[in-house]
């Protein structure tokens, strides 16, 4: 049994699998968590309670905190969290900014995959799509921002200009922290989707569930034309 820090056995959730794909996903996630833990102060605590040829069972200690919910104003109602996440992204991924490719979380979503300890400190969870050094820096952050725009747009049937103004500010922040690869400079949304389409195998069967690939061509052009940084 492997112990990571002081595993809190009082409240935990379990990920287990007896299928090859499931075992691979869990093993991938553990690599992602190990990478993330090496970068942050608030670590994800877990223990591998069973590991056999055809079976794995991992207990994750519960992270107490807020998980933002989906609303019609997904973007505007979550600005406080968005800014914290972008700062967190820069602090975690920023050290790798000189590398041509950086680690990929692959499902960097505010809606379910980020917990805010004390409503303040973000902890990124669900690392099963993790890949080491495959993405241009900024990809996960771009995905994160555009997914919120997508949810807001799909619920209200209109693209909110206030959200785009704020999004532009976030891109400037990423750029000034050297956390935005130049491929995203001209047409950030198009480049984000293009990266996903060119690497759909990273997401496997989940690819068709990633919201931002469903942006229409018109929406992509409109959003990209609003960006100037």
């Amino acid at each position: 049994m492997e112990e990571v820090d002081s595993f809190d056995n009082k409240k935990y959730f379990i990920k287990s699998s007896s299928s090859l794909n499931g075992i691979n996903d869990i093993a991938t996630e553990l690599i992602g968590v190990a990478w993330y833990n090496s970068k942050v102060h608030h670590k994800i605590k877990y223990e591998i309670s069973v590991q056999r040829e055809n079976y794995i069972k991992v207990k994750y200690s519960e992270i107490k905190g807020i998980v933002p919910k989906l609303s019609k104003k997904s973007y505007l109602s979550n600005i406080k969290y968005i800014e914290k996440v972008i700062d967190h992204y820069c602090s975690v991924w920023g050290g790798d900014s000189v590398k041509p490719s950086v680690p990929l979380h692959g499902d960097f979503s505010l809606l379910g995959n980020i917990v805010f300890i004390n409503d303040d400190i973000p902890v990124i969870i669900d690392w099963e799509h993790f890949r080491l050094d495959v993405a241009p820096i900024g990809f996960d952050a771009m995905y994160f921002l555009f997914e919120l725009i997508w949810f807001q747009t799909s619920q209200s049937n209109t693209i909110c200009k206030h959200s785009l103004i704020h999004l532009n500010k976030m891109l400037i922040k990423l750029k000034s922290a050297n956390c935005l690869n130049e491929v995203f400079i001209n047409k950030p949304l198009e480049a984000t989707i293009k990266f996903m389409l060119n690497n759909d195998n990273y997401w496997g069967s989940q690819f068709n569930k990633m919201p931002i690939i469903f942006f229409s061509k018109n929406d992509i052009d409109f959003i990209d034309n609003q960006m100037s940084f």
């Binding site: 299928s19 056999r52 055809n54 079976y55």
Partner: protein
């Protein structure tokens, strides 16, 4: 461990056939497939192997046989120590394979040879050499103090049925019944649980899954999944019996229970501890398994279900959501899973 276990099985079942299946001499038939369908399936199974045979001949059962979701309730057992598991009424061996992949040695028992043959081929295909297959009537097995785990999944309610069952035909109207055992269904089920209890070592665990007699679905107009009649699950047994005799000309014998009665039946055979869970939307493909307690029902939340297609199914789900989320009526949850310790 393996040779020791095989020796113990051989003590009870000295005969093994050419497929290495231990034989008791007792045979029977319970299957979702008719005997004719099973014959055609066997031909493809011999030539193409189990996975391809399922995909080409019985694709409607692929999820039932291969979906990992089917194994969810196995996670309620403690797998940290390796042990011996008996899967009573294993059929195609979904849970046997699940336990074997978790590393345990599994004794898979069923009366239906065709199902066991499939399991044998599947174990070979999946390189699971820790599954030992026995053809026997599960009511008559004589294993004693051998198992760390026992699986009784969707089996207890069929114990009182003595005749061969081809599920589709069983649901239909029949003019002549051959279920003539004088014992009540309840007594037969209790006796079977005693057999399961005897097979376990001290501290061994039984995982039992069954429909809840008072599932909200039956009050909402879903037919009894075994008798194929309205309301027979929850009506008084005598009335259900009368309805079954009128409409199907056979007695009502597929007894299922409420949470409390199920616990009490399990405890009556000698188990010392019993943890009870509610299962949504059913125990075959569970999306959510919660402790049957005041705290457990607080954790009820929306869950996806690809099989929720018709308006009736959707209304039933929203009704469930309302009564579980807001009224906390756990008594009406769809299915029961019990983990009992000897």
């Amino acid at each position: 461990m393996q040779s020791n276990l095989i020796e113990k099985i051989l003590n009870l079942y000295p005969q093994q056939d050419e497929n290495m299946i231990f034989k008791s001499g007792r045979e029977g038939y319970w299957s979702n497939l008719s005997k004719k369908e099973n014959d055609s399936f066997k031909n493809v199974l011999d030539n193409d192997g189990p996975k391809k045979a399922v995909q080409s001949v019985i694709p409607q059962f692929e999820d039932m046989i291969y979906s990992e979701k089917r194994e969810a309730a196995l996670e309620l057992l403690n797998h940290e120590e390796l042990g011996v598991c008996i899967d009573f009424g294993c059929m195609w061996g979904v849970l046997s394979a699940g336990m074997a992949r978790r590393g345990h040695h599994v004794i898979s028992i069923d009366q239906t040879y065709q199902s066991l043959l499939f399991l044998k081929k599947r174990a070979e295909e999946d390189n699971l050499n820790n599954i030992h297959i026995v053809q026997d009537d599960i009511k008559k097995t004589k294993f004693t103090d051998i198992a760390d785990y026992a699986i009784v999944n969707g089996v207890l309610e069929w114990i009182p049925i003595l005749e061969d069952v081809e599920v589709k035909k069983f649901y239909g109207k029949r003019l002549h019944s051959s279920s003539s055992d004088s014992k009540t269904p309840n007594n037969m089920q209790e006796k079977f649980l005693e057999t399961v209890f005897a097979s376990l070592k001290d501290d061994g665990e039984m995982m039992l899954a069954i429909e809840n007699r008072h599932s909200h679905q039956y009050y909402m107009g879903r037919k009894d999944p075994h008798a194929n009649l309205l309301f027979t699950t929850f009506l008084p047994r005598r009335l259900s019996n009368l309805i079954s005799k009128i409409f199907h000309n056979k007695p009502y014998r597929n007894y299922i229970y409420s949470f409390k009665k199920m616990e009490s039946l399990v405890m009556s055979v000698g188990f010392k501890e019993c943890e009870t869970y509610m299962c949504f939307p059913d125990y075959h493909f569970p999306e959510m398994i919660l402790k049957y307690s005041k705290q457990g029902i607080l954790e009820y939340k929306k869950y996806p279900n690809e099989n929720r297609i018709t308006n009736k199914q959707k209304i039933s789900y929203y009704f469930e959501y309302f009564i579980m989320k807001y009224l906390k009526l756990k008594f009406f949850s769809p299915a029961i899973v019990i983990v009992a310790k000897k």
